[in-house]
Structures are given as structure tokens and as C-alpha cells.
Amino acid sequence: MRDVIVIGAGGGGPVVAKELAAQGLDVLLLEAGPRHAKPREEWTTFEDDANNPLTGYLRWGPSDRDKPAWYREWPQNSFVWQLSGVGGTTQHFYGNYPRAYPGVFEGYDGPDRNGYDVDHRFPFTYGELVPYFEWVEATMPVMTAAMGHKEQTFFRGAETLGLPVQTTKTTHRPSYRPQENAILQPGGTAGKTADKDLLVYPKATGCTFCGYCFQGCMRPNGAPRNQFAKRSTDNSYVPMALTAEVWSRGGKPVELIADAFVTQVHTEKRHGVLTATGVTWRSGDTEHREDARVVVMSGGCTENPRLWFSSGLPNPNGWVGRGYTDHFFDWVFGVFGDYTGNPKGVGSSARLDYPPYGGLENVGLPPALAAFAGTLSDSGIRGHYKNGRGRTGPWDGPAGRVMGPELKEVLSHGMDRLLSVLVITDDDVEAQNRVTLSALPADENGPIPKVTFKQRQRTARTLRNREFMARKAAELLRGAGAEKVYRIDWAPLILHVQSSMRMGSSEQNSVVDPRGETRAVKGLFIADNSALSNGLGGPNPTLTAQALATRTAEKIFATYFDGDPWVRSSAPVVSTDPRISVRLAQLGL
């Protein structure tokens, strides 16, 4: 009998595991995919080897790459970019750590208060979450991002839009700034040389500007795992969870089991109340079962609903899996006459926030991913067909795929003369965007999920926000000096995922109560992006999800283990702490 079982070692699960391990609880952390304990032996820097969603080492599938990936049904042109493995999608993220906009929380009374998704706010104030933001920011640590040429190009364009520079953690108004990134900033030789021999830890510390965020961070070469530049959870929270006894008095290291796909959450009625009792997971052909006082679901926005349904758990208000938000991304890129620095440095180190519409960020991509990004569209192929859309605006020609001869011409102009801007929409929670169980055949882990997004029938506010931000992106690129600007009108590329098991004040449209516990099953908590109440207004979700998971860990400790909260009364240990590095070396990690 464990104290706590956490399902999923992605962006959220390791936060709860680390926090409760620090309090001395017995925590089991289960991860469906590979451990990736030795990235220098398992990873490369190549796009197909890393990112091919079917065969790459960063894919949604089993550790054995000779076996197919895990199939999910998407009944529309879309792409849900899930990852298995310790670190989850933080393995390929860019470490962007902006805070949620204050306008998405209860109690907000700014002049733009009616401009947000007012029906689906967080059930507490922004001020309530600030100590948890600060705790995560100090743990990672989050730092103001250094500038490379692609940031310089982005800022040159942002400077023409008449907006101020944001110099606070909190976003109060439309503004632009360097990203606040969970990336260790360059030190020593890092960022100053391309000489391999000089880019070795500790001569180089922090980000070396390699440009391989999306292929997984294992730099600087020779650094301990918890000193790699990008603070994906496999480099930050997981090392802390595994070494809790050396940095927290009374701490107890977490047991982590990879290749453990949870197929069932068990419950029983206790005093008439449905209560979680444990889980069953599959490792290869073997099934295992363990019991726990508390079970935490952190499998992500697609897998949590799937596991809920396949476990036969109740869904009295019908909201399990509903309200999935994805920031309804779009992609606008410019072709420049001069060097832009793409695709060097962190994936993104510059952003523009525009509450209550959404935001923009620059993104560097290598060639195959750039080609993929240029051909994922809901607007047909430029110059040939528009699929009923193909909007025009401050970009060149109609929106749509840049394909064939045109794509070859654009990319042959030079990767380092492009600048791409990700359009991030403040999108509404909508019941129709959801996860259900597919009628297609089950896989070895049970019935598979079906992820439905009705992108053309989204709310008027969502559609308006996306058009507004796409125009801003084009204006920014023109301001930066782009000779030609393309808008792709992406089909749903579901990379920022939120709110499919949402927390809310109303029993009518939420799965999780304001403490993070599910309304239908006691002792069962949700701690990852799926518990977020909404799409945050557009900011990248990891920081807010981790802050909320930290708060949920406190609620678990207080409710089921009679403990006291710690965030307001103590100081966090930074995840780069040398005691963690020493212990990792002893563990051979």
C-alpha cells in the first residue's frame, strides 16, 4: 500500500511526486513510455530520428522503436502531438514559462474583464496562485532569455507595433518581451563558440544555442542531468523526486517505473462514497496492481479521459474529456533578404502578449519540421484550392499550404533567412472539443481515445482572436523587414493542451473541484494541463500547470495525510542543486 501513486511522468506528475516525496510520503511514479536515462547513448540531433511521430525516440509509443506507435483516432485533419517517456512533452518543449493572464481567474476586474472566456474562469484569484508561480519559477529556475539573431529580428518587428516592453512577470497589457524561460542561460563558452571542444561542461554552462530543443536537451555535453540547459521534467523535477532524501529533511525518494502503462484505476464504495483504491498497469505482457491512499492522474489531456472512461468511472455531468483547449494555433512566416538566426538557439526566446486575444512567439525550426509546418493547413494548397477557406490579409496571397515547387523555392532561399511566428489564440472552452473512446479496435492498453476538434465551428470570440493575432504576426514580420509573408492557416496542431478534465467552481461544467480532487471519485486527483480551467488566455501552459500541481500536492497532503502546507512558509530548493547532481551520479543517472 503506497501513500500516493502518480500516473504519468510528463509535465505535471513529477511535480506532485517531487513535492510529496519532499514531505516524506511513499510515492510511486508510473510512466507509460521509455525512461531515456542515457540521452547521449539514445538520442541524436536528427529530426526524423527524434521527432518522427511514428518511429522517433520522442513519440507516443512503446520503448521498443521496432514496434508501431500507439494509434489515436482524430476524425479531422489535425495532429495531436503526444509523447510518451519520462518528461512527457516537456522533452520536446521550448521551456517557455510565461504566467497565465490575470484575466482568466475569478475576481479579475481589469477594464478588459469581459473580453476573456468569462464562463470558464479559474475558481480562485490570480493572487492565490502567485506564491505557486514563484515556487516553480525558483525551482526550475526560470530566467529572462538571452537574445540571438532570431530574437533580434522578432524584436525589430515588435518595435514597430506601438506596444510597450513588459518588464514584469505578470502580463498586465499588450506588450512584448524576451521569454521567461525554464532554460539555464549561457555561461562560460556557451553561446560564444561553435567549437565542440570548448562546449564541454563546466567550460560551458547553460544553453549552448545548439537549436535542438525539439530533439531533447542533453547539453552542455558532460553536465550532470540536472544541469542540462532545458528544464524539462526529466532534467529537473524527476531528478529531484529520485533524490528527495538528499535535499529535503525527512524526504523519501520516489520510485519511478517506466514502460508501465496504467490501464485501470480501481475504486470502491467507502461509507457510501466512491473512493480510489489503486491502479493496474501493464509492463510488456505482465499486469501489476498496487493500492494507494491517493491516486493522481497526470497522463495528459488525451490519456486522462481515456483512462477515466476505460476504468468505468462515473461522469455525472458529462464533462470528462470535454472543454479541450489547444490555443488554436496558426503559423505565419516571413522570408528575409538577410540572416535571421533561424534555427539557432532556444526554440523560442521572444514573445508578444496580447490579452485578451492571445499572443505570438518566434519559433526556430530545422528543415523537415519547417516543411511539415508549412504544409499542415485547413486552407488547401496555395494557388490551387482553398478547401472553403484561404483567407487574405496582410500576408501575401491566400492562406494555405506552401507546397511543392513553392516550398522548395522558399526553403532553398535558406533556413537562416526565414523567421516563423507561432500564432497563439486565446480560445474558449467548448463542450464539443473533446475526448471520447473510439469505436476503432482497442490496442494492447485498452480502448483508444478519439480526439474531436470542430475547428470551423469554434466560438465567435475564438475565431476573432485567431484572425486578430494572425494579422499582428504578419504586421510584425513586415515590420522586421520580411520580403514575403505566408500564412498557413494550420489545421489543429495540438501541442498546447489544456482543460479536458477542467477545474471549476460549478458542478455543472467541471470535473475537478477547486482543490484538484475529482468530484466523482474521492482520493483521485488530477495534476497536469488537463486540470487547468481554461486555455490561460494564450500563455504556454507548463508553468501554470506546474504551479497548480504544486498547490494540489499541498491539498493532498493536508486532506489525506494531515500535513501542513509548505509553499508560503518555506523556500524552494533549486533543481540544479549540486547535492542532486552528486546523488544522481551515485545512482548512475
Binding site: 529572462t144 544555442f209 552542455p220
Partner: protein, 297 residues
């Protein structure tokens, strides 16, 4: 009536490309090769299946060559047929067709329970689309024999390579866009299309052509019907995205054992990516915007 059915059956096999690939001008099977199947009893059918399997594989490869040059044209014959020849290497040299075939046949976790009926639908399904196919009579026909070999193959326990139904889908749409594509250079109707016609074929797939949905959904009971036509929308987009990803990526020159590249990928040459290969880092650190290294509320 029988004559009409044979004609429409012939039209359908021509449209998905099987007839032309097997027995058309330059076709891979001769009547004499197919003949033993005609006389065979069940126990003697496998040789016919052995004959049809490589035909279908070559048909799929040819069709997907037509797809990958659509993503990245080069100096190959397929790009010339498409009307967009390029003086520099394209998807064929980049190995994108192998990439797509390997992905479809070995790694797309598409359940056999779906792939098999879709494949059957595309070969045995409704034939009479009402589209006149000029030149059909020039295809020498040993239809019954070919059909029997195909049916045996589809009814066998062998997992159907997904590249085959995908090729069938592209060829079916190709002949919808241009009925003349049942004859011509290359093995497959899709590879015979111009660039604009290929775009028109994808337009049909993306808007989920009603005839096609009917053809596929009829093979499935509820609640799978909507799933299959929904999948088509996804497949239409995914084929394009994967073809470009494969054309600009390193898969063709990547050595899995040494985890290094055998040579510089075509896509890297075009884009100027990493002129000296993989790096540990770059000297691209300029400083901090406005000199600010820290912010607070």
C-alpha cells in the same frame, strides 16, 4: 447485365491502378503468368497470390513516387510528368518514397481490422461511378483471372500493406480528376497527373468526396461508419505532411547502427542547414534585450 458488370469491374480496377499495373502496356504480369491461377483449384491459388503481391507493391511505389515529387519536385521523370521539373535533386533522391512506404507498411499503427476492409473496398467496391474512361478497351484484359488472384490475396490472413489502399485511394481520385490517367507513362494513374491535377485530387479527398465516403462506409457497420470517413480527412492531410517531412528529413541517409549520416541529406543541401553537420552549439548569443537579465512584479 453480365457484360455491364464486367465492364464496370474493369473500369474500377483500372481506376485504382491495378488493371494497368498488372496487364497494361508495360504491365508487370503477362497473361501466361496469370493463366495458372485460372485453372487452379484452391490449393493451387497461392502462386497467383505470389504474382499479384509484387504487382501491388510496385503499383504502390509508383503512386507514392507521384506523391513525393508533389511534395518536393526534382530532376526525375515523375517531376517531369507532373510538369514541374527542377534542376536540383528532389524527393526521389531524398528517399522520400521509401520513407512513406516504410512508414505506412511497418509503423502506422492502423488497425488491420480497418485497413483490411478499406483495402477490400478499394478493390472490390462499387465500380460504376458514371465516369467515362476513354481508352479502357486498349487494356488487354484477363479480368477474371486477375480478379480471382486479387480476391484470394485480400481474403488471405496476410496483413495488407497500408501503402496499397493508400495508393488505391490516390489513384481512384486521380481518375476522378482526369479519366485519361488510366493510360500513359508510369504504372499508376496518380503519377500521370499534372501538379494542378494532383492538387485537385487532394481537394476531393479533403472535402471528403461523397462517392468515396459511400464506397468506404458501406463496408462498415455502425458505429464505425463515421469513423472511416472521418479518417479520410486526416489521411488527406497526413499524406501531404509526411511526404514533405520525409523529403526534407535525413531518413534515407541515416545509419541506425552508428547513429550518424552516410551523406548529407538532400533537404540540408537545399536549405543550407548545418553546413558542417551536427553541432554542440552556436556562437549566436548577442546579449540581453535592453540589457535586462531579470524581471519581477
Amino acid at each position: 447485365m453480365v457484360g455491364a458488370r464486367v465492364h464496370s469491374r474493369r473500369a474500377f480496377l483500372a481506376r485504382v491502378g491495378v488493371l494497368g499495373a498488372a496487364v497494361g502496356g508495360g504491365g508487370l504480369l503477362t497473361r501466361s503468368l496469370l493463366a495458372p491461377a485460372d485453372a487452379a483449384t484452391d490449393s493451387l491459388l497461392p502462386p497467383a497470390v505470389d504474382l499479384i503481391r509484387p504487382v501491388l507493391a510496385e503499383l504502390a511505389r509508383d503512386t507514392l513516387n507521384g506523391l513525393t515529387v508533389f511534395a518536393m519536385p526534382g530532376r526525375d521523370p515523375y517531376s517531369r510528368t507532373q510538369g514541374t521539373p527542377s534542376p536540383t535533386p528532389g524527393a526521389i533522391e531524398a528517399g522520400a518514397t521509401d520513407f512513406i512506404i516504410n512508414s505506412l507498411d511497418n509503423f502506422v499503427p492502423f488497425p488491420d481490422a480497418i485497413a483490411q476492409p478499406v483495402g477490400s473496398a478499394l478493390v472490390t467496391g462499387l465500380a460504376d461511378s458514371g465516369i467515362a474512361l476513354p481508352g479502357l478497351e486498349v487494356l488487354p484484359v484477363d479480368l477474371r483471372r486477375l480478379d480471382r488472384a486479387l480476391a484470394t490475396y485480400l481474403e488471405s490472413d496476410e496483413a495488407l500493406p497500408l501503402s496499397f489502399p493508400i495508393a488505391g485511394l490516390l489513384n481512384l481520385m486521380a481518375t476522378q480528376v482526369n479519366p485519361l490517367a488510366v493510360n500513359g507513362p508510369h504504372l499508376s494513374p496518380f503519377a500521370r497527373l499534372s501538379y494542378a491535377e494532383k492538387a485537385a485530387a487532394f481537394e476531393l479527398i479533403e472535402r471528403t468526396d461523397a462517392d468515396l465516403v459511400e464506397l468506404l462506409d458501406v463496408q462498415f457497420p455502425e458505429p464505425l461508419k463515421a469513423s472511416v470517413s472521418g479518417l479520410l480527412k486526416f489521411v488527406g492531410g497526413a499524406l501531404i505532411e509526411f511526404a514533405t517531412f520525409g523529403a526534407y528529413g535525413e531518413s534515407a541517409v541515416y545509419d541506425k547502427v552508428t547513429r550518424t549520416l552516410r551523406k548529407r541529406p538532400v533537404g540540408w543541401n537545399h536549405t543550407g542547414y548545418q553546413p558542417d553537420g551536427p553541432v554542440e552549439g552556436w556562437d549566436d548569443f548577442i546579449g540581453y534585450y535592453q540589457g535586462r537579465q531579470k524581471v519581477s512584479d
